[in-house]
Subunit: 344 residues, 2 copies
């Protein structure tokens, strides 16, 4: 297999399209490997525990979906975009993402993430809070070097928006009457905003036309919502091994996600009472989770959620029509499909 | 009493000096009142709990020492500095300070601050973490509007440094062998860095000569260390009413501050064993605190700490010699004296 970007220098992809996500990863391998080095070297704090915890987090097998999206979006706008600028932004995005995960795990009392113990189990909640704070500040600090006000503002605003999403989710915990619209609003803030900004950064680097910026932001936003919907479906359907954490975590934490909202609206009144009692109890023994999973199977709640996810992916791909055909556009489409097809 | 700044417009102080801190407050009253409005209006989140918590925090009777230092430092460099730029920066500094307090209270399991219940008691640790995150991002976001890269970098770097101080403090908890040098390093990061940056911002606004910038940064740094030393002394000497929280909190939390370090080095070997046992036990019943307070009285540990604090104030004031005599220079000197003389 000849990776489509590799036949002549990295910046000049062949016009051959991509057959699958592996080819896309392969085409970006050099950038992503350089990114790994940069992400780890750039954390050089006076406080050793920050360096240890950051190193643990950055070796935890994250797929670097956001850096991949950033690289492809930027090259879609400007094929010759400088690698150093891409890596700087991609690492900032990963720092922000990791900071949010650290704080999320404290908020959720989480024990496992990606099949490993969470930082809070290893170093405690206090260190997790502080290392998260450090990574947020570090991300915003290093972006200043680009001297691009629009990029700085977009990332700072994104940090605020992500926090708002978490606060909204916290305030809606165990609320079975939350509307699907409010649920989408939460995941838009919590997950889609960073992915949307990541894709938009490509256009901001290039001071591209507003249409490009808006199209990539919308592409990322729809993709981010689809990504979270897919995650929410996985929480009720994946094997524990693939998920890297126990099934039914959202239920346990009282997070009312779309599979549960669908079930609540589709089931009989008697069944709804049972489901509501399980949610309200605030603990989920295995037989309660089984009850929910059986009902979800009956009403096809996971399938419904995945359909919704694919609907958002279609909206995302629609936005790419703003760009002429190119290998980068194809690659973004493949990444979008991959995001919702993984692990099901 | 005629406030020295008020006889002709705010920007043109009379040449009459200041007799005391009240006159300094009075001279900056208009700016500080405008700041109060700005601080509260600028928090306008989609998540109501962020607005409620922020409003509670900003009405909690903070003295606005940092905004005062910023205003005076900026006017020392440029008497005609625009109020809108000052207020923007002063509010950003207060947001960062408040975010750090929110996270500190979570780290310390604190129940009281400034005589009121902490946000974590009212809204929980989770909301406190998130509102802190929001305020950090909001602070860095609004500063972007100034378009001054040096100011942005200074504030982002300060956020990192503050976190490093907290992490270092956390890792040295209950370590009775910490050196005085390491202790000063912690408070330099944790407290002095933000005060140093706050003072330096005045010079950065004016793109003043490097000497001015360095002198104000050093003034703030020494002042910040003195401020923390004075705080650490208060924890073993103030009345609970004035302190706004219980006496001996640092001891209870295992923070080894200068009064305790002095005691450990000054007392007999037998007494040291008693003190170490109290620290190691990790809880401080009233009779243990009494033992420590009696020993501190015998060895004058609080007096020693206050002397050290005054020594740093003298170093701070020395830095002001880089500036020609002016009412603003006098005012900064009065503020410096006030910071270590309050409540003793």
């Amino acid at each position: 297999m000849t990776p489509p970007f590799a036949d002549s220098p990295r910046l000049a992809p062949s016009t051959a399209g991509f057959a699958n996500i592996d080819q896309v990863w392969e085409a970006c391998r050099e950038d992503l490997q350089a990114l790994e080095g940069r992400i780890r070297c750039a954390i050089d704090s006076n406080a050793p525990i920050i360096n240890h915890a950051a190193s643990y987090l950055f070796c935890s097998g994250g797929k670097r979906i956001r850096p991949l999206l950033l690289i492809l979006s930027a090259r879609l706008c400007n094929e010759r975009e400088r690698q150093d600028r891409l890596l700087l932004l991609a690492s900032a995005v990963e720092y922000i993402h990791t900071a949010a995960l650290l704080h999320d795990d404290v908020l959720d009392d989480a024990a496992m993430r990606r099949g490993r113990e969470t930082a809070r189990l290893l170093w405690g909640n206090k260190a997790s809070i502080l290392v998260g704070d450090y990574l947020y500040a570090h991300a915003l600090d290093q972006v200043i070097a680009l001297g691009n006000t629009a990029i700085q503002a977009a990332l700072a605003e994104t940090c605020r928006s992500m926090v708002e999403g978490e606060v909204l989710q916290l305030s809606q915990r165990r609320n079975v009457n939350i509307s699907a619209g409010d649920y989408v609003k939460i995941i838009d803030h919590k997950t889609a905003c960073l992915i949307s900004t990541t894709c938009m950064l490509g256009a901001l680097l290039d001071s591209a036309a507003p249409a490009k910026k808006a199209a990539l932001a919308q592409f990322g936003r729809h993709l981010g919502i689809a990504f979270q919907l897919s995650d929410d479906a996985l929480d009720y359907s994946a094997s524990q091994h693939k998920l890297g954490k126990a099934l039914g975590q959202d239920l346990y934490e009282g997070k009312i996600t779309l599979p549960l909202l669908h079930l609540l609206s589709a089931c009989t009144r008697e069944e709804r009472t049972v489901v509501e009692q399980i949610i309200e109890r605030g603990e989920t023994p295995a037989h309660d989770l089984d009850t929910i999973l059986r009902l979800m199977e009956r009403y096809q709640s996971v399938a419904y959620t995945l359909e919704e996810s694919r609907r958002f992916i279609a909206l995302a791909i629609e936005e790419l029509r703003a760009f002429p055909p190119s290998p980068y556009r194809d690659a973004l489409e493949i990444v979008a499909d991959y995001v919702v097809s993984r692990d099901h």
